[in-house]
């Protein structure tokens, strides 16, 4: 994909993560190694527990992030709006997908496979530095947001199960823990209040595929 088309996406991603020292043009160059993908509403992008082999950059639309609770019931962790990073943790540390991601509406993404991601991450140039700085800013954000959430949880929680609940105190629930895990896994960056005007430009291959699919319906 043309890196110039990705500059607004790169700029918003860097702003959303408060990343310093990275230039949008260079991050756009790093992301341009990805292949465009389009998903229709309800299509599953990745499933919890599967190997992590692709980093996705959400360019357009929303993705619903869910994780199964201890009884196997899917619980919603977040709704990600474009632009967002999806699946970077697994590529960084080799862990399996921590959640299931499903397209909400018509969704456009860029897919960077693991070899491309790792090669770009090791590049001694501006594009490599921009991707490293974005990932580092995201990891720092994940840790510091989790820290804040833990402090909130401790503040709200009952001191002991047997104690009479004080005003505004409550029992910690599994949902709290799932959401905390979601924060640590990087599902908490919100770009919805950033007002950058991002226009997703469909590439020629995707357009032909979509038109062919519509004709065959």
């Amino acid at each position: 994909m043309n890196s110039m088309q990705l500059v607004p996406v790169a700029r918003t991603l860097l702003r959303a993560h408060s990343a310093r020292g990275a230039r949008p043009e260079e991050l756009a160059e790093a992301l341009s190694a990805g292949k465009p993908r389009r998903l229709e509403d309800g299509v599953v992008l990745c499933r919890e527990g599967e190997p992590s082999d692709i980093l996705y950059v959400l360019l357009r639309g929303d993705v619903r992030v869910t994780r199964n609770d201890s009884e196997g019931t899917p619980r919603e962790l977040a709704i990600l709006s474009a632009p967002a990073l999806i699946g970077h943790m697994g590529l960084v540390d080799g862990s399996a997908r921590s959640a299931t991601c499903t397209a909400r509406g018509d969704t456009g993404l860029l897919a960077l496979d693991a070899p491309t991601f790792r090669a770009t991450l090791g590049r001694p140039d501006g594009a490599g530095a921009a991707l490293r700085h974005l990932i580092l800013a995201s990891l720092i954000h994940q840790l510091s947001t989790a820290n804040d959430k833990v402090r909130d949880l401790i503040e709200q929680a009952e001191p002991a199960p047997s104690a009479v609940p004080a005003a505004k105190k409550r029992r910690v629930q599994e949902d709290d823990v799932l959401k905390l895990a979601g924060v640590l896994d990087g599902w908490s960056v919100d770009t919805s209040d950033l007002d950058d005007d991002i226009e997703f430009v469909e590439d020629e291959d995707s357009r032909r595929t979509r038109e062919a699919r519509n004709r065959n319906r």
Binding site: H17, R20, M89, P124, G128, H133, L153, I154, L184
Partner: protein, 175 residues
């Protein structure tokens, strides 16, 4: 400081000597006696240090007390938030515990040195370190929650057993 000393750090083992020499030139080594405060909690975060030799202690101040929450050993970076996140504050203090040798890392150094394999190695090392920290924190929280669920399911939880809240406080250095 010699390049040999720097090249003994695991992150620099495959980095060419000329790249390490360039890093040393951009980030001159600094020696610190015990007791030196390198970072103070609440201060603006705009740089970090790579510990080459010595020992640093990380502490967190709460309304009630100041508590040591960890140590930094040679080959580790302290204060990395200041390098990659705009407008952040130090979330902990860092004090020198044993005579220490550090390299000061700044956003300007990372920008100017991004073609230097030594700088790339520092950043890749940090990505791996932070990812491990994220994963181990997550595992510890899940483990604490499983213990809590086991206690809740028990007909009569043992009196005085730590709650999930207690475990979180302990995990995050709040008690």
């Amino acid at each position: 400081m010699s390049i040999e000393k720097l090249s003994r750090l695991p992150m620099f083992r495959s980095v060419p000597a000329d790249a390490l020499a360039d890093l040393l030139q951009r980030a001159p080594a600094q020696r610190h006696p015990p007791g030196t405060i390198l970072f103070r909690q609440g201060d603006e975060a705009d740089d970090a240090v790579l510990l080459v030799d010595g020992l640093l202690e990380v502490s967190v101040r709460t309304a009630q007390q100041t508590r040591a929450v960890g140590t930094i050993r040679p080959g580790e970076v302290a204060g990395e938030q200041g390098l990659f996140v705009r407008g952040g504050e130090r979330n902990a203090s860092v004090v020198v515990r044993q005579p220490s040798l550090t390299l000061r890392l700044t956003p300007g150094l990372l920008l100017a040195g991004r073609q230097n394999p030594a700088v790339v190695a520092v950043e890749q090392h940090l990505i791996a370190t932070l990812a491990r920290r994220v994963r181990s924190t997550n595992l510890a929280i899940q483990k604490a929650w499983k213990e809590e669920a086991r206690l809740r399911a028990a007909a009569a939880p043992p009196p005085g057993a730590p709650t999930f809240r207690d475990r979180l406080m302990s995990l995050f250095g709040m008690r």
